[in-house]
Point group: C2
């Protein structure tokens, strides 16, 4: 229905999705920070999105926004593009996982459904991107996320890395150097209850990881 959504609107919806994923409406300020835009600009756009036909968000002054059905579909469409693109850049064109975000962020608004379908096929219809983020299916449903943050594991537990929730290229390269990437088996050997550091064994080496790292790595705990 209706005219195509602008780039800018697509980015707003994508970020609203991400901010509201764990319920809670998204605040003006958080959106402004993510979108690199002044808070006043966000207010203006949110009013517009709420007034669109059909409305893309539910917005109440001073109380944040959430997506409507239509807004959610549009957001998942962009996110599917983004994550498929990242996967394609890595698997087919040899990018590393720290190089793909910006490229995907520009391309996501511009590829056709044809292009989307062709790269999905070329990749064998993956469900996760190079960072382990889930890729919405072609019919725009987001698979359920079963992962636990690494920070919640304790000595003796072992797990498989599912997902790394970071965009900072330096951090991504660092994690790659340590071998902390999706699919990898790890084991927790120590925990410091004062600074919350975890000692993690990967590839036969141990590393002490701080909270800043362990809250960004999500795993499936072995049983």
């Amino acid at each position: 229905m209706t005219e195509p959504l602008t780039q800018s609107i697509q980015d707003y919806l994508k970020h609203i999705y991400e901010l509201t994923e764990r319920s809670q409406p998204a605040s003006t300020t958080d959106l402004a920070a993510r979108l690199n835009v002044a808070p006043a600009s966000v207010t203006g756009m949110l009013q517009k999105l709420a007034a669109a036909k059909p409305p893309l968000v539910i917005y109440k002054k001073h109380q944040g926004v959430t997506l409507t059905k239509a807004g959610l579909r549009a957001a998942l469409e962009v996110i599917r593009h983004h994550r498929l693109l990242e996967t394609y850049l890595v698997n087919a064109l040899g990018y590393t996982w720290d190089e793909v975000h910006e490229e995907a962020c520009r391309l996501e608004h511009v590829i056709s459904e044809e292009f989307e379908a062709r790269i999905a096929t070329a990749l064998g219809h993956p469900n996760r991107d190079p960072h382990g983020e889930l890729i919405p299916s072609a019919d725009l449903t987001m698979p359920a996320d079963q992962s636990t943050p690494l920070s919640s594991l304790r000595p003796g537990q072992s797990a498989t890395i599912l997902r790394v929730d970071a965009q900072d290229p330096n951090l991504l390269r660092h994690l790659d150097d340590l071998g902390l990437t999706p699919g990898i088996e790890i084991e927790v050997s120590a925990y410091s209850e004062f600074d919350h550091n975890l000692t993690v064994r990967v590839r036969r080496k141990s590393h002490v990881l701080g909270l800043n790292t362990t809250t960004k790595i999500f795993v499936e705990v072995d049983k």
Copy 2:
């Protein structure tokens, strides 16, 4: 030098390049037609491009525009993107030659130099796109075009198709059905001097082609 050129400016420069390729400044009206924009809008943009620092075009009221050095480089940059993309879509993603133009026209403004370099490498640094159009080199020089229009051949001459200068998907599919695609050997067996039809032998079959077709196919004549 300077800020990145907008999509719109990139498209203007690309079309000015194409219109001025056979010398002659490009007219406001021709540009308007190609860009699907009102003539008045073109005038406005041309004034802006001429006033840019550095100037991208040379523009004199009522006399059309040509590209400056800087404008030429920018145009070739976009054209290289466009043609590499078309080639990639066909060779790597299985598009047919009638499906690629629009997709490339959107992507051309958005891919990074990194992306350009990677697809160029993946393709083995081609010099022609799927229609046989020459691809500017990475250092932004356009190879010389050595081709002759098929319409200038006469019975007895044989040639290899180098290039097909058409965007209309229906025409492209038709030519593909006949086997009139770059790289193919053809032989002219008859000419009608009244309607300028040529009878052309391709793949052991003969076809009578009108001027509308034969001026869009460019060949290298066998010696």
